[in-house]
């Protein structure tokens, strides 16, 4: 009986405290939003400057910074259980593996494809 009583007390215990979560301050959320808008402006502006093949990498780099801000602050990953980060990063490991190997393969056989293309 003693054990059961303590169990009952446990059941009521969590009514008086918030679950162990991190509340992100509103100023931080607003700051991230402004930073995201500014980076969007940067990525549009930099497109009109000719930097050769660097344009693509700058666009992807800015997108990655924006994505990191969204994931770390809006999605709380910075304050969250590290296990969730491992799950999320795993997705990108397999994404890079997939894209990397397919692009390598495609680059390797592309000359053969051009040879096969009939000329009109």
């Amino acid at each position: 009986m003693q054990h059961e009583t303590s169990h009952v007390n446990d059941a009521h215990h969590y009514d008086d405290h918030a679950a162990g979560v991190h509340v992100v301050p509103l100023q931080v959320l607003a700051g991230i939003f402004v930073a995201l808008l500014a980076l969007t402006y940067v990525t549009v502006a930099v497109t009109s400057i000719d930097l050769g093949s660097f344009n693509l990498w700058i666009a992807l780099g800015v997108a990655t910074v924006k994505g990191a801000l969204v994931v770390l602050y809006f999605m709380h990953l910075r304050y969250d259980s590290p296990f969730n980060s491992i799950v999320f990063i795993t997705a990108f490991v397999f994404l890079f593996l997939f894209l990397g190997i397919v692009i390598m393969d495609s680059v390797a056989y592309q000359p053969a494809v051009y040879e096969l293309t009939p000329t009109p």
Partner: protein, 277 residues
């Protein structure tokens, strides 16, 4: 022995709040399990989109000129506006999760409504963009889609009485005119007009590859936005019914995570499709 366990079971069933599932010990454990499940789902979502990003990467690697031609047909101002709208919706969603954590019911209802409005504006802008493409027959397989819905196909390559043609049959005059303008802006020198005209027509045909990838990527993203609207509406209904508290807000948290992922994918789609140099 068995009597004791029966008694424990009875205690378990009676003494947990309705929002705490019986098989969890504490609200923290329940919330952490929900979030882990959600992150695992987001992992599958990234891999789901990765197939289309792979198609993009392979075709752009091998035929960059098609992507450069294609991006002239997308409206950067509308794309940038849509990016800002989606970022705003992400901000209001994150704010909503904060309201839920603090038990601010009114704030949660207002921020979720704002998020829904942004999602609808996004789809509205997307619709106007798609409409222009549709009017110029720039949707691959458009003839077949029109036939499916009982509309008489009118695009190029349509023979009356015959089944609608497969593939990409754009409004050639419009596309060629547009490519010519883009070339002039880029300062391309034309030597022989007849050769140039034939080359422009060929380039117009190749755009099918770009628009196939464009519609699959943005279309799949738009489907996710629609699913997000449904999920946020469900959360909003529950918020109005006052079902959330600082102890129980995991559904708001999980729908928020999903919505941020939709935003994250658009953050990559915008420069990859609209901002090609």
């Amino acid at each position: 022995m068995s009597e004791t366990s029966e008694q424990n079971d009875a205690v378990g069933h009676d003494e947990h709040p309705p929002w705490l599932a019986h098989h969890f010990d504490t609200p923290d454990q329940q919330a952490a399990s929900a979030k882990l499940g959600m992150w695992t789902f987001l992992l599958t979502e990234i891999l789901f989109f990765s197939g289309l990003f792979c198609a993009y990467a392979v075709f752009r690697r091998n035929h960059p000129e098609i992507f450069f031609d294609g991006h002239h047909f997308l409206n950067t101002a509308l794309g940038a506006t849509n990016t800002a709208v989606l970022l705003l919706s992400s901000f209001t969603m994150a704010w909503g999760v904060r309201c839920a954590q603090l038990g601010q019911r009114r704030g949660l209802i207002v921020t979720l409504t704002a998020t829904l409005l942004c999602a609808l504006v996004f789809l509205g802008i997307k619709y106007t963009e798609y409409k222009v493409k549709w009017e110029h027959h720039m949707v691959p397989g458009q003839g077949r889609i029109e036939a499916l819905f009982g509309v008489q196909p009118e695009g190029e390559g349509t023979v009356p009485g015959e089944p609608a043609p497969r593939g990409f049959h754009p409004d050639i005059e419009y596309v060629v005119e547009h490519l010519r303008e883009a070339d002039q802006e880029a300062g391309v020198r034309v030597i022989a007009e007849s050769v140039y005209q034939a080359e422009l027509e060929q380039r117009a045909q190749y755009l099918g590859t770009f628009f196939g990838i464009y519609f699959c990527l943005t279309g799949l993203h738009a489907i996710h936005v629609i699913c997000g609207i449904i999920a946020i509406t469900w959360i909003l209904r529950r918020a109005v019914r006052n079902e959330f508290s600082p102890q129980y807000f995991a559904p708001v948290d999980c729908v928020g995570l999903y919505w941020h992922l939709v935003d994250l994918i658009w953050i990559y789609l915008f420069p990859l499709l609209y901002l090609i140099h």
